[in-house]
Assembly symmetry: C2
Homo-oligomer: 321 residues x 2
């Protein structure tokens, strides 16, 4: 680690504020993470607009020590349910446009805490589509994408509750993207559906997952889901394998749709999967089974993205370059 110049001196508080989690990082002028903390004070769990009170326990000491530290946040904090609704930027959208469109929201710290308050800079989400065919939106993923170097390729997949497939341009700008409800459907079906009745405690069963991926290539998902139930009834798979079968069907259907929309027209290889390791490896396994090259970035890139945006916007870390 180099300590010359302002490196390792706090220069920015990066905030990833999603619907169910709040994660913060103290970063230096080079965008390196010095400290990191998180809580479950996601946007949907903060009542009565008390966002400053939710944030203070995680970074109040940093701000007491460095009162002028800029705060840069991304995610659902910029939604209607957040501190302030930040308009979506239309695609194609480049880093420079994102950095120019930051919106500042004043925060008043809770009574009795040090300092008068601060300004929370919020990264805008992105939008594509139109009124005729419907829109698609993201909040937070645009920042993750800006944390991934251009050389990682033009087609990225960010699996999760609302999985995103993203097409980037040569200059790293986001050209288009598509949301799939894969993770949310998995949770709904696993927890609340008639399929759940036949499922046992999951034990990783690759052949059940692979079978699901393969079947999803040849039949529409709507007609396959009931087969998870009959696979339990008829003991085609063990009860402990049925979550993996369902996971394979859902991920397989998403990949089929995503490849058809993006990879084939673009002729793009490889697909870069960006996310939590276990889930990202499922996507990579499914892509490989379909003969498609895939790589995985499972590191935490959102803070790199926030540092990149701050730099471009001349906030904190960036101001010192």
């Amino acid at each position: 680690l180099s300590t010359h110049g302002d490196a390792l001196a706090p220069a920015l508080v990066g905030i990833d504020w999603g619907s169910s989690n709040l994660r913060v990082a103290l970063m230096d002028a080079q965008g390196r993470v010095l400290q990191r903390r998180e809580s479950t004070a996601g946007v949907f769990s903060v009542a009565g607009g008390a966002f400053a009170a939710a944030l203070w326990p995680l970074c109040g000491d940093w701000l007491a020590a460095h009162p002028r530290l800029p705060l840069l946040a991304c995610g659902m904090i910029g939604s209607r349910q957040g501190v302030l609704e930040v308009p979506y930027l239309p695609c194609p959208a480049a880093l420079g446009q994102v950095a120019q469109a930051l919106v500042a929201a004043p925060l008043a710290w809770p009574a009795g805490t040090a300092g008068e308050g601060a300004v929370l800079h919020i990264v805008p989400g992105l939008q594509c589509g139109d009124a005729a065919q419907g829109h698609d939106v993201m909040r937070g993923e645009e920042t993750q994408l800006l944390g991934v170097a251009q050389e990682h390729g033009r087609l990225l997949v960010l699996p999760g509750t609302h999985s995103k497939w993203v097409e980037r341009g040569q200059a790293g700008q986001v050209l288009a993207f598509q949301t799939y409800l894969t993770g949310e459907l998995f949770e709904l079906l696993r927890q609340h559906s008639s399929l759940a009745r036949v499922m046992g405690e999951p034990q990783w069963t690759p052949q059940a997952f692979d079978k699901g991926v393969a079947q999803a290539q040849v039949e529409p998902l709507e007609g396959l889901l009931f087969k998870v139930r009959t696979a339990g009834l008829m003991e085609r798979f063990a009860a402990t394998a049925l979550q993996d079968y369902l996971s394979g069907l859902l991920i397989g259907a998403e990949i089929k749709a995503g490849l058809r929309r993006f990879a084939r027209p673009l002729g793009v290889e490889p697909v870069m999967v960006l996310g939590q390791a276990t889930l990202a490896l499922r996507y990579a396994r499914a892509l490989a089974a379909l003969g498609h090259e895939a790589s995985v970035i499972s590191g935490d890139v959102v803070f790199s993205g926030l540092a990149t945006i701050a730099h471009q916007a001349g906030l904190g870390a960036g101001a010192r370059h």
Copy 2:
């Protein structure tokens, strides 16, 4: 109404015993319904195997007056959760095979009630598919199908929680069928998903339903569901129209898959939709919008089916012909 012979004299108790409802009918030798009753004592809500105790309040008086009246039941009562697990009949399956495969389960009436007990005859469900591609099953629908005359055509759709598309042969036998999870997905998404957050009290909005049907023909369902949420966020449709948009997407995707699997290879026209009127009319509307002839039977055919099976098996109504 004719009253000659044994007509209008009780000859059979027909029982439609599904997972969440219990419906019974007292029928004469011609299969006409004389009385009808129902309760919410569905199979999943009967604890500790107390099926006789659940049935007695609905038809105890009929059986006290006519102790030798036969009882014929269909539905989930023949499943692992029911009074006795009745093996599925493989497809193709004809009426004669169904009637020969009835399974008799003795019922002991609750202490203090009249009579010693009775025998419950249970209609077997049907099965198709194989271990390689997965099975499909029905319990109860086979009886509804036997209540629909052959001249109503070869391709039938029974919409619902687990919607069924059924191909019949020239002699009315069930050749193949396919389950779609449409109704269950609608309820899960309407009640428990992130889409539910943007939905208002539903008001029938045909243009939202029709748009959903149309979009489902050109894009896979997995990529369309999130558009219900953005349609709310972007005010593409009123909040009160979003359930109809979702309904159109789901029904449209089912119809696309069903037509591709059955109608096109068979060259079959029209599609007969069999079910509760409001839902059946949605299917007919969607089929019409796609240029497909459709008819609706919204009457209650399960008791006709039970009478037909009883007749063939020589039970009650049938024994007197």
